[in-house]
């Protein structure tokens, strides 16, 4: 079951002026499930994105990146679930372009002004006919206060929908940031998550928007893992409609940029953590914090060695303070000149290990008390430098195996 995600209510999500959303049941997934989302943007909106680094990236990822290159005036985005259109070769590209062309025809814009996204089973042909047949209903359904339904429509193995809103003040004007995401398994994003969309009514120059989406990804979706599998379809999109009425943000070193970046990153981090909390089979939410490293790269190595270890993840599932497994992971993380005698390992605020072994004050019942919690912080102090990194992950349960052993059946 998802770990500590509060139930989403429609009223929690603030509409973004300049964007409407519509959902439909195209029949790709089983009956009764919305599986198609259309987002329509007003003229003047700017869109930036980061995409999976997987070399087998999906056809919609290839097409979306091309359309972002060709056109600075994206007018719509579409998302289907139930089929990833990945590992589908040339036919997959043609299907993705054809679906964009159909939505462009309905909206009266150019094909290259539409971005396609898909998520679901890999290596099955995209059911283009069903998508084309479903698009008119999705377009007819478009409205500004539809984020709640949109969050539902992009779910696959997700148990709960993922969405968040924040508001900040810029030039005395209220600026709103609202985002949705999906993802539960095949989660070790590399530049982006499975699918995440964050929108704001802020007015910001396109090149600054691109910096902002990268920064947000690096402090949210690029710091989570469920199972270490980087998806073929990861995409994280940040879009700005410019309707909030403040002076346009044109400098990266100004206060307005910082305020907006903080809000965008906070919404992205909220969404990323929700993906981990709803990780397939998750029963615990684990924060892995690596402090006092020489550089970010080595902190990330240690954090992911811990976050990916099946032995550590099953120990969390069992609430077993078998902490030697964490030392072992630090040891094989790949820092060649690591002096293990200088490391401290904490579980929440309990010092577990130092001087290369168990801390003298450590008592098993203290470790057990922390391990029993649904939320646990593992903190590794490398004592080699000044850099810190945080990664979020979940435990590894019977249900992870059950879910993934029966995904297609």
């Amino acid at each position: 079951m998802p770990v500590n995600i509060s139930t989403l209510h429609p009223g929690h999500l603030l509409p973004i002026s300049g964007i409407t959303l519509g959902v439909a049941e195209a029949g790709i997934k089983k009956p009764g499930r919305k599986d198609l989302l259309v987002m329509v943007l007003d003229e003047g909106s700017h869109v930036s994105g980061v995409f999976t680094q997987n070399r087998f990236c999906a056809a919609p990822v290839i097409v979306a990146k091309q359309h972002l290159t060709y056109s600075s005036a994206i007018r719509a985005m579409m998302v289907n679930t139930g089929n990833a259109n990945a590992g589908t070769g040339e036919a997959g590209i043609q299907h993705a372009v054809a679906s964009c062309a159909e939505l462009a025809r309905l909206l009266g814009c150019a094909t290259q002004q539409v971005l396609p996204f898909s998520t679901g089973v890999i290596m099955e042909p995209l059911p283009l006919d069903k998508i084309v047949a479903g698009l008119p209903a999705a377009v007819a359904n478009c409205k500004a206060d539809n984020w709640f339904n949109a969050a539902h429509a992009i779910m696959t193995t997700d148990i709960v929908p993922k969405a968040a809103s924040r508001q900040v003040q810029i030039d005395g004007k209220t600026v709103t940031v609202t985002g949705i995401a999906k993802g539960s398994g095949m989660i070790r994003p590399n530049m982006a998550t499975m699918l995440g969309y964050v929108a704001t009514d802020a007015d910001i120059a396109p090149d600054l928007l691109q910096s902002m989406v990268r920064h947000a990804a690096d402090h949210s979706f690029n710091r989570i893992t469920v199972d270490g599998d980087t998806s073929t379809n990861d995409a994280f999109i940040l879009l700005a409609t410019g309707k909030a009425g403040h002076r346009a943000i044109t400098r990266q070193d100004g206060a307005a940029y910082s305020v907006l970046q903080e809000a965008v990153t906070a919404v992205a981090a909220d969404l990323a953590k929700m993906i981990v909390r709803d990780g397939e089979g998750a029963t615990k939410f684990i924060t892995v914090q690596v402090d006092a490293g020489k550089n970010s790269a080595e902190c990330i190595k240690v954090a992911y060695a811990i976050a990916h270890s099946p032995l550590i993840k099953t120990a969390f599932f069992a609430s077993d303070p078998n902490l030697g497994r964490i030392l072992a992971a630090i040891g094989y993380a790949g820092i060649d000149d690591l002096d293990v005698s200088g490391i401290q390992l904490y579980l929440d605020d309990i010092l577990v290990a130092e001087h290369g072994g168990r801390a003298s004050r450590y008592r098993e019942e203290d470790g057990q008390r922390v391990m029993n919690q649904p939320e646990i912080t593992v903190r590794v102090v490398l004592n080699r430098g000044l850099v810190s990194t945080t990664v979020w992950t979940c435990d590894f349960s019977y249900d992870y195996v059950r879910i993934n052993a029966s995904y297609r059946s």
Copy 2:
């Protein structure tokens, strides 16, 4: 349950002239389980080893490496199970040395002529008193035809003992190679396995023995993975007593070296594959073969990306030909300039994918037939060069979670 390991009988294992083995119940593990092994070598034996690259390597690994440096005349080795003496700081080193000193006293040799090995729980103090109390019984039990009992005495979560023997002819003399190993979880050896010992009565120069142990490791224990966790205690030892009566092997480019290397590597590979077949919770034995790569490094990246993916391993457990997951793993393996349209993916001899998508001749029932088997070969043809690599792994089942969620309870 272990996958296709035939039951071991005492008569299958050939003694090695110059080595006796003794086991005892020291009371480290639960009553009724042998947990202490002593191996005594005749004078003139040569010993080489490769050890874990984990920076949190265990105290016995540190001490064994020191003793191999100080002494060219190793006379005994001892292995305890139930406690890894890892993550135990300075006290762990002192315990490892003290256990060597006690065995040396019993045998009348120097402390530095004894190598210690431990396997079991990490970060618990070594029960030195129990080991010291158990050593006399193990020494008294020493005999040449005791390999069968030795293979049992080093087991931890292993379900079956692991041992193998081969004989080859050198100079018209029969040369024997016999080995034992243990390991089932925390298996992604890096230079060695959990614990492996291969002995021969061949007569071979010490520096050639060191080349041979490295070659054997790189074609056996360094090519397996169960869960991707590199242990703190991995060690693979090759020892030669020189009793077989052939001319001493002093050149690496001669036929005798090749014949012996092949036999040693074959025994090591048998043992390594047994570890995978007995991998925690394993129900399938998977061979991942990567062909036509530019170099060994990129073939290994692709092979381990597949062999470590929890999504792929759970699909094998479910016999589900969800083969898009394999394409995804190839895609995130880290080859930056990979052209996915040039790759072929086979399940046994069934062509599954090519040209970036599903092969036109592929039918789901063919993939299903292969997936139903207990032994499956995944073959990836990169079409970038001439290098091949093979890695062996197992699937990921409910029982892996059960075993590791309850290891200490």
